[in-house]
Symmetry: C2
Subunit: 346 residues, 2 copies
């Protein structure tokens, strides 16, 4: 079994172990909300429903890549070096999922990964509480690292996670407050997206490095790798949300143009006050208009600008990864994962 | 200045310092939501709006009461012994307030302490996020204790807080799920109220004892003091919610009978399947009916039963407090606070 599969299996087991804290007679329905959201139970349960677990994978790959002496792992009589960090990996995935459950209520989204969202199935009050519980369990997972790490390392990991969570709430605030504004431009993009995407990815590599016992310089290089990886990934995602196959063809309703998302190409063009901005400010774009409006946005430079930004952030990310100097198979796998995330051919 | 006033001032300053993490140009409206909820800004700001800060006070009194050598505090050149625990005190108050913000959305309550609730002023999506932020800041306050405590003490305090928060979500789940049931009885009361009230009060005295460097037996005695104090207080509150002056007189709409609250006297009588249960199961009780229904409930033993339970829990609480053997002025003040909470004359 390759390292990625071994890690994904360990992550899933740890997530299940953590969430099982609610598996008690009187709270079985509460537990069910969480196992449903995590993709393990209910309609459409399975690998499609769980998501790719990229964030916790990034934690464990980072921890493993910090292990200079890879031979430690070839001794099959002992657990792999990275396994003791699995609580940290579970914590970031639980934070991610807590934010999804609350996001879906806030955005009034009725589907996630093709399945009904928690609030649709159990109502908003229960879904708020289910999200809160995922957040609490994330915190329990991180402090639970005390079983395997010295207390000062646990406090450091928990501090990184907490700071990241505050960034997430800031990003969410900005995202929601932008809905009421019609004076947005490119300047408004970075504070929002730093909170919403990059903060958590940078927490993954930062926590992974702390749990891998990297020195200060190594921790900083991994942190910045995750941060710029997150930005590059988000901008790529913004481009695909308008010019990707799904967005431009049959499923036009899935286009960020229809959803009115404040993505980078759009904020860039809004600042230009051209034809695109004029149409955008007139009200919601329909599925029928998607092709024309996307073409207009491309003509005004939104696509090429975002492409340049994505490339620049990708280069930064890869430079920091090189500086971090990840070791062994984990290091190679991490580079593959980064390239996959950024839709790049190596 | 007496110790209680000094502590309350330190608590308020620490809370403001913690919440100021969001005091940044782009998030000033977000920051405003939190300062409004905490009672510092906006309509009706002031001591009426902040609440009594009983929970953080209990943390600091416990820490101070663990200090065998009270003379340390009489040296005015140094900070008082309890001051380094103020981050832990702020953390429990922030958890309490996070749960209030989410509660108000879940219960559709438009007023809290006579002021509009956060979701009424800024909408539910923003209020969910504001509650999340208060919770994050609570976690930051507890890990921030690393400035004054060894890492293992910080991890212990954070673990207690996290476990408590999971109890809170369990209690909240039960409370909400009871609304759909009509087969409730006294057995259903304890699991709900343990999570909703006692868990946090027991966390206050437990964390206070950990931060006061009490030994294991001392920590356990303080924890159980807080736990039974919480139960006794809740049952007292349940009694006042039906037979208190406010509930029975002019403001009858404030009666738990009208609000349909699953409080102890009510669950007791529901299990008796008498006239009260019959009326209760027929639908909402109006303000006009309050006096009659309260009298019926009293006749069926709901009031005397709750009174006995409250007295029993009070005795347990006081026995554990005696066992904990709190020292000095802080110890005396803690006993006064407990008696005040339990509406007892000493």
């Amino acid at each position: 079994m390759n390292i990625q599969k071994t890690m994904l299996q360990a992550i899933e087991e740890e997530l299940q172990r953590q969430v099982a804290r609610l598996n008690q007679p009187r709270t079985s329905r509460f537990y069910e909300m969480l196992t449903y959201h995590m993709g393990w139970t209910g309609e459409g349960a399975g690998s499609e429903a769980t998501g790719k677990r990229i964030r916790p994978l990034l934690v464990l790959l980072t921890t493993a890549a910090c292990n200079v002496n890879e031979n430690l792992d070839s001794d099959t009589s002992t657990s792999p070096y990275w396994l003791r960090a699995v609580g940290g990996a579970a914590a970031v995935e639980l934070v991610h999922n807590f934010s999804l459950v609350h996001d879906d209520i806030q955005d009034n989204s009725d589907k996630r990964r093709g399945r009904h969202t928690v609030w649709v199935k159990w109502g908003a009050p229960m879904a708020i509480n289910a999200g809160d519980a995922l957040f609490v369990i994330a915190n329990q997972a991180i402090t639970g690292l005390i079983e395997h790490y010295p207390a000062d390392v646990v406090v450091k990991a928990a501090t990184i996670l907490n700071d990241t969570c505050l960034d997430l709430t800031r990003g969410q605030f900005l995202d929601m407050s932008y809905e009421e504004r019609n004076d947005l431009n490119i300047e408004d993009y970075w504070p929002m997206v730093s909170g919403k995407t990059s903060a958590l990815l940078s927490a993954c590599t930062h926590i992974g490095a702390v749990l891998g016992n990297a020195d200060e310089a190594g921790q900083e290089a991994y942190r910045l790798f995750g941060y710029h990886l997150g930005l590059a990934f988000q901008v790529q995602d913004d481009i695909l949300g308008i010019w990707g196959n799904e967005a431009i063809t049959g499923k036009s309703a899935a286009s960020d143009l229809v959803e009115g998302k404040n993505s980078l190409p759009i904020l860039y063009a809004l600042g230009k006050h051209g034809k695109f901005a004029q149409r955008w400010n007139q009200g919601p774009i329909t599925a029928d208009e998607v092709k024309t409006v996307a073409a207009q946005l491309e003509a005004e430079g939104g696509r090429s600008y975002a492409g340049e930004v994505s490339e620049k952030e990708t280069q930064k990310a890869l430079a920091y990864l090189e500086k971090a100097n990840p070791h062994g198979v984990a290091g190679e796998t991490m580079l593959e994962l980064a390239n996959m995330l950024l839709k790049r051919n190596q």
